[in-house]
């Protein structure tokens, strides 16, 4: 491999250059840009130097707005400052960006361009974010692939120092930020030569310093503001030339020659596409393919989007150009055209009138949208655009890549068209997130790219679930550089690492004729053929595929590799794909095992090496001799009884077929039905809990802690079970209030993830065999069909009569129907049990404002939602606004409800005499402070309706439409610690201070879980987290104490795994309090490095050691002259604080990596816990005087 060749993804490439050219880096995590900040933070922690030999300061901020503010300050004080962001993050930076540009400050922000949330959030790539910042006065430079991302990063940093105009350097989120490719990183010498010896000097000389004081950031008036804005014009006029010169210097240094607007194609092309971003590579490849067929087409690849150099842009076109299609990866509803289209049109028109255009008359210009939210953009789609340009009357505005059957804007494309040539070897792998497939492929890329000196490309597609997620790896290898930023459509090799995918996904369609199919299956080789779905058998025959099989799980078990089949499957790949010589490849695999694990564990090395050998002896090719006899259709995994919309639309998304849905299938405003997760039957668990009625004490704890609501209990009148099948287990209900009822506990085997939290929570012991409890994990194969039958029957039984349920004790409360069920959260999730509890208690009158994060993803990621409805059709109404505004959004919901209630009360008072006055009085005076009260109020409102309908008065109509406002609604504001402690804290603080009746539930995982475990201000001292690799040096923020300082806020700190009844009590008290309430709920998380099946113990340990306090602060007690604060956890009994910390990987890592620092931080953390407890003991011992709200 050449010395300067690196195999990395776009984020790493950009971070590498940006880090070396920066002095201050302010960061905040946001997908898909988080990794750039993580790299910078890691390098800074390791003491890596920048170009000038010093280590950049990296500072995590509380929001992207904060990151931009810190960057602005650092720039003003003379540092070379940068940041990395995307999407909403960039939008939060816009106010500062205006300032930084207005002050003509040299700076670069790197953006992994991503969709901006509109009707829905999307983490995927398009230009919605950068286009929303195009007016800020920043120059904008776009990279088209991973190599360019490194190069343009360097050019942007060089150009800004000369131009004084700040630069946004952007590239396609995921497609470029996450694509792994072999590239040449500019080394320090190149960067030094590019920037010149005096780099940064002028910038520093403009810095604010009391040694040469100046004033910047004045307030200006109508007299001069306008002129001042115009005074910057020359800098913008000069900027394109500055970039051009930097590109020219760079070309000399590296041989990589870039233009602001590069033309690629036939010199006499008549049809030209204008495009920016990774799609430029796709169009270029299409141009080559079409021109090879004799067409005359070309593409103008846009790199410098701002300042838009109209003259240079126009010059890029061939003189023969007759028709131009401009492709925008964004949507601007209501505009004449999308931004790049309008820029292109304006530029060409201006060049024409200035006489600098290569053509005599304006070509026909059309504009289209493509690729929103990482929608695939393939050569077939690019060809459709060229075809449209050739049409007699091309559509002026169009979209491509979707089927728009509503406004008819979409172009049809022929999927059989391909621009792939025979140079590259293409391999596709279907795996599970947990099986190591992606990791193995990342490793293979290095083996092939470095060892065999091939060009490589890898791109990974993940699904939206956090448990049982499917991954699809797309790998290309070849002797020539690979420029194909789209998924593989014709594979030479395809591996299916999970046989449960067979039939569910049409994967064999991806294989080219004669290709190799590798299947991991527990079916013996001789029976595999018969086990394949019929469609797959037919494809294997028709395409003459070779089929190899291995039982990788059995092999991995034998070699003690757990569920990680990466080594086995990687060995198979190299043994049969022929991508590089087998012996060489296997030697490289063995080498890489030694390198990866050698330092860590010799035993793991030996086990993996043994696995390589065993794999080679077990891998079998099966004979394709059998008849076509497979099952016709495999189960889709989606409930056949789902409602029409759910199965027609959501079912297809679930089946991986969402790309084929036309525009008309989807709601125009992003509104979807709830209660849809129940139709997904994911069947992930290898082991499921099975109930032993004889042993059960009916405590409800298993149902309470189940993160997926897959365990339910019901109390059913005996007579209803009379005709029940004998194998539906039940027991006499033990509690007196359920006299005459049978108690049933049932697991849904297809919804359980097998985490085991329930078994750990079960306090009962089998009297004859103490190793058994009242529920026991059992291999699914043995019980699947029986438990399915039982579940189906169980679901049909009526829900337990809520009127008889005592919500104040878990054993009774757990009879309440969960209205949050079967989410895609991680197996063993520590957050979801709280949400499920909330949904059980108040779900029928609940509005949820959900901050962006894990809970908004498992709560609202299509295709389905776990938020559900009860048999009456009532249930939580849920919405996610943003990450930063959730408290305010929730308050807004409350304000609307309060206003609606006020308005309805006024109308009812006015109309009371003409209705049933007594009933009206009852309605107006109803207390509704418990569930019975709410139910009675609903009944009263029903009774009022007929009279109201009969009343001929416009006010009656208004009241009718608002009548339900008179029954109590509950607003819960839900989110993680990243929101509550950091980005949303200002709003949360304000909302709590408002005194309004909103409830806040903070699911505190002590890190930003959704973006990968970055430190938040909830991270405890001594914990290792991203952005805090050497252990968090500072103490956790005491959010509860801050909220208590208002005096009028109900505050509770709970940990279900430590004391479940306490959690329940806090929820009930918070709800009953007529004012703001805050519950901070300890939520164990995969980012803690724990065994998730024992997550409840981790919670208990946090409480037992005093690291997490249980308390309830109730202003009602203060009003009664008592201490408002009740401290509910005992003083720590064990002195082994540090030892208990080490049970969690996040602390253990520090002890292993930095023992001395760990000792110090753990001792300080113990002191934190002691001091905090002392403070809370002090507060809880004293009556709190009522404060004025």
């Amino acid at each position: 491999m050449p010395a300067n060749k690196s195999i990395l993804d776009g984020n790493a490439a950009v971070a590498d250059v940006a880090y070396r050219l920066s002095e201050v880096v302010s960061i905040f995590p946001i997908t898909p840009s988080s990794a750039m900040g993580e790299w910078a933070d890691q390098w800074s922690g390791e003491g890596r130097a920048n170009l000038w030999g010093d280590v950049p300061l990296v500072c995590e901020m509380q929001s992207e707005g904060g990151a931009a503010g810190a960057a602005h300050g650092a720039l003003q004080a003379g540092a070379l400052a940068t940041t990395f962001t995307a999407s909403q993050g960039l939008l939060l930076m816009i106010p500062n960006m205006y300032k930084i540009a207005g002050e003509l400050t040299s700076a670069v922000f790197h953006v992994a361009a991503r969709s901006v949330a509109a009707h829905a959030l999307s983490i995927f790539g398009d230009h919605g974010d950068v286009m929303a910042a195009r007016q800020t006065g920043w120059a904008m430079l776009c990279s088209h692939d991973v190599q360019e991302a490194a190069d343009m990063a360097a050019i942007a940093h060089a150009a800004t120092l000369e131009a004084r105009v700040p630069f946004v350097h952007f590239f396609d989120g995921f497609r470029t930020s996450h694509e792994i490719a072999d590239i040449s990183l500019p080394d320090d010498a190149v960067l030094r030569a590019l920037l010149g010896p005096d780099a940064g000097r002028a910038h520093r000389e403009r810095a604010l310093t009391p040694d040469r004081p100046v004033l910047r950031g004045t307030a200006q008036n109508p007299d001069v503001f306008f002129q001042s804005r115009e005074a910057a014009n020359p800098y913008y006029d000069a900027a394109p030339d500055v970039v051009r010169r930097a590109m020219a210097r760079y070309a000399k240094l590296t041989g990589r020659d870039y233009g602001l607007y590069d033309y690629h194609g036939a010199p006499d092309a008549e049809r030209v596409v204008v495009v920016m971003g990774s799609a430029a590579q796709t169009v270029a490849a299409t141009v080559d393919a079409l021109n090879a067929r004799g067409e005359k087409v070309g593409v103008v690849k846009v790199r410098l989007y701002r300042p838009f150099d109209a003259a240079a842009f126009a010059k890029a076109f061939p003189a023969a150009t007759k028709a131009v299609a401009v492709l925008d990866r964004t949507k601007e509803p209501g505009s004449v055209g999308e931004p790049l289209f309008l820029d292109a049109l304006g530029a060409l028109e201006r060049a024409l009138s200035a006489g600098t255009a290569p053509f005599a008359s304006l070509p026909r210009l059309i504009g289209g949208r493509y690729g929103l939210s990482s929608k695939e953009f393939t050569p077939a789609m690019a060809k459709a655009v060229f075809d449209e340009l050739a049409a007699p009357k091309p559509r002026a505005r169009f979209s491509v890549g979707i089927r728009d059957d509503v406004t008819g804007l979409s172009l049809d494309h022929d999927p059989s068209f391909s621009a792939e040539n025979g140079d590259a070897f293409r391999a596709v792998f279907f795996g599970l997130g947990s099986d190591g497939t992606v990791g193995a492929n990342k490793n293979s890329i290095h083996i092939i790219g470095e060892g065999a000196d091939q060009h490589v490309q890898a791109y990974f597609v993940y699904d939206s679930k956090k448990s049982g997620a499917m991954t699809v790896s797309h790998l290309r290898f070849g002797p020539k550089p690979i420029r194909a930023p789209y998924l593989i459509e014709r594979a030479d090799f395809l591996a299916c690492h999970q046989d449960s995918f067979l039939g569910r996904f049409k994967m064999l369609e991806l294989l080219a004729p004669g290709g190799v199919f590798l299947l991991n299956t527990s079916v013996p080789a001789e029976s595999v053929w018969a086990s394949l779905p019929r469609a797959d058998q037919e494809l294997i025959r028709a395409k003459k595929l070779r089929v190899f099989v291995i039982d990788a799980y059995a092999l991995a078990r034998e070699q003690k590799l757990g569920g990680r089949i990466n080594t086995v499957m990687q060995t198979c790949f190299f043994a049969i794909s022929g991508v590089i010589a087998r012996d060489k490849a296997l030697a490289a695999v063995r080498d890489s095992i030694r390198r990866s694990y050698g330092k860590k564990s010799e035993e793991i090395v030996l086990r993996n090496l043994a696995a390589v050998d065993a794999t080679l002896s077990r891998l079998r090719e099966i004979k394709i001799a059998g008849e076509i006899n497979g099952a016709a259709a495999a189960p889709s995994g989606f409930d056949a009884h789902a409602p029409e919309f759910v199965s027609r639309v959501l079912g297809r998304i679930y089946a991986g077929d969402g790309d084929a849905l036309p525009v008309s299938a989807l709601p125009a405003d992003g509104t979807f039905p709830t209660g849809t997760a129940r139709y997904e039957k994911r069947a992930l668990a290898q082991d499921v809990p099975v109930w032993d009625p004889a042993c059960c004490i009916q405590c409800g704890k298993c149902a309470l802690v189940c993160p997926h609501a897959a365990i339910r209990q019901k109390a059913v009148p005996e007579e209803l079970l009379a005709g029940a099948p004998a194998d539906l287990p039940s027991a006499p209900a033990k509690d007196l209030e359920w006299k005459g009822h049978r108690y049933l506990l049932q697991v849904s085997p297809d919804d359980c993830t097998g985490c085991g939290l329930c078994v750990d929570a079960c306090p009962a012991r089998n009297k004859s065999e103490t190793g058994l409890k009242a529920i026991n994990m059992t291999p699914i194969a043995a019980v699947r069909e029986r438990e399915r039958r039982r579940w189906a029957r169980f679901v049909e039984l009526p829900e337990t009569d809520r009127a008889r349920i005592k919500p104040s004790a878990i054993r009774s409360q757990q009879f309440q129907q969960p209205l949050f069920e079967f989410s895609g959260a991680c197996a063993g999730c520590g957050e979801t049990p709280y949400l499920k509890l909330l949904s059980q208690l108040f779900g029928d009158r609940l509005l949820v404002a959900n901050a962006t994060g894990c809970s908004s993803i498992y709560g609202g990621n299509l295709p389905t939602t776990p938020w559900a409805k009860n048999p009456e059709g009532r249930g939580p109404a849920w919405s996610n606004s943003l990450f930063e505004d959730n408290a305010e959004f929730g308050l807004g919901l409350r304000l609307a409800l309060d206003h609606a209630e006020l308005s309805a009360r006024g109308l009812l008072e006015a109309l009371a005499d003409r209705l049933d006055a007594d009933l009206a009085r009852e309605i107006l005076g109803a207390r509704q402070d418990d569930e019975a009260g709410v139910r009675e109020q609903r009944a009263r409102l029903e009774r009022l309706k007929p009279a109201l309908a009969a009343l001929d008065d416009p006010r009656a109509r208004r009241l009718e439409s608002n009548l339900s406002a008179l029954s109590r609604k509950s607003v819960w504001i839900v989110g993680g610690d990243g929101w509550a402690y950091d980005i949303g804290y200002g709003g949360l603080d304000h909302v709590l201070a408002s005194g309004r009746n909103v409830k806040v539930l903070v699911l505190d995982t002590e890190v930003y879980s959704n973006t990968g475990g970055q430190k938040s201000k909830a991270t405890p001292r001594g914990a290792v987290a991203k952005f805090s690799n050497a252990g968090n040096p500072s103490a956790k923020k005491d959010l509860g104490l801050m909220a208590m300082s208002y005096g009028g806020v109900y505050v509770a700190s709970v940990a279900m795994g430590a004391r479940d009844e306490h959690t329940l009590r806090a929820f009930l008290e918070a709800e009953s309090y007529d004012g703001p309430a805050l519950i901070i709920a300890y939520s164990h998380c995969i980012a803690h490095g724990i065994d998730m099946g024992l997550g409840l113990r981790a919670q208990k340990s946090a409480v037992d050691t005093g690291r997490w306090l249980l308390y309830r602060y109730d202003p009602r007690r203060a009003a009664a002259g008592e201490p408002a604060l009740a401290l509910d956890s005992k003083a720590p009994q064990s002195a082994a604080f540090a030892a208990r910390l080490a049970d969690e990987g996040r602390f253990q890592m520090l002890a292993r990596a930095h023992p001395a620092r760990a000792k110090e931080l753990f001792a300080r953390a113990a002191e934190d816990a002691r001091a905090r407890r002392a403070l809370f003991e002090y507060l809880s011992a004293r009556p709190s005087g009522p404060k004025e709200g």
């Binding site: 997908t31 988080s34 992606v438 564990s601 990968g1012 475990g1013 995969i1086 490095g1089």
Partner: protein, 331 residues
Amino acid sequence: MDLKSRYLGLELRTPLVASASPLSETIDGVKRLEDAGASAIVLSSLFEERLRRDRETILERLSSHTDSFAEAQSFLPALPDFHWGPEAYLEHIRRAKQAARVPIIASLNGATLGGWTAYARDIQSAGADALELNIYAIETDPEVSGDDVERAHEDILRAVKTATTLPVAVKLSPYVTSLPHLARRLVRAGAQGLVLFNRFYQPDFDLERMEPRPHLLLSTPQDLRLPLHWTAVLRGRVDASLAAGGGVHSGADALKLLLAGADATMLASALLKYGVEHLRVVEREMVRWLEEKEYASVDQLRGSMSQWKCADPSAFERAQYIRTLESYAAR
């Protein structure tokens, strides 16, 4: 009084050795043991399971949720420079050697063959004077024969011996196979010493939670009989140093073991119970007895009541069993 003893080729001022316990986990503890008169100090053990578990749990935790989700390919930062192995333990050996003049004996504890045995080399480099190899194996598989068990012991010892030239003593469990046979087999495989015995930890039952509960009981003087018996039996039958412990709470206890043939007597429980200073009491009691009985050195009495040298060798065999029962009945 000449209390000098030789154990594993080491010259000891007295036969009183501090065996592995939490007392030697800190350098301060090591110093206090030396000050109180310990003639050598066995450091607390480096456990095979802990080494393996730490690595595997960290590796598992770092990798278990990687490369699964679009938004995050990992959930904990990568930490390249882990202290995977026994670095902290090795550092402890180094510091103990600096802090104390008495020999420092390191202790490796494990039950299966594996990479951990290689740490014997690092232990030697760190400066330990000898190595105690603690093979604590509880065999529960009916398919595993006595010969399998002995071979496993031997294999582990050989693996350790390949890694180090330090003198190695094997610490045994009292309930294994034919103890003299195993002892001889280990000595032939290179053991320079045998330590009698490992405490046999039996869990207690928790009647509230209905589960076994680990519960460490310190030894009492009544426990002395077991090592006393086997020391007396092995003395003269194997060509190796013998250390014995488990129940040494007084000078008399130590003397009994020496009479049975121990080269070193190991103390831990008594020191945990009465404090490190108790070592001085034990030594004083020993000296007083030796003086009263006009012994010139401990060497003089060592092994004088071993099975081979005592007046009635059958006292250690089946005949004694019958006598014991009869003696009780006669009371």
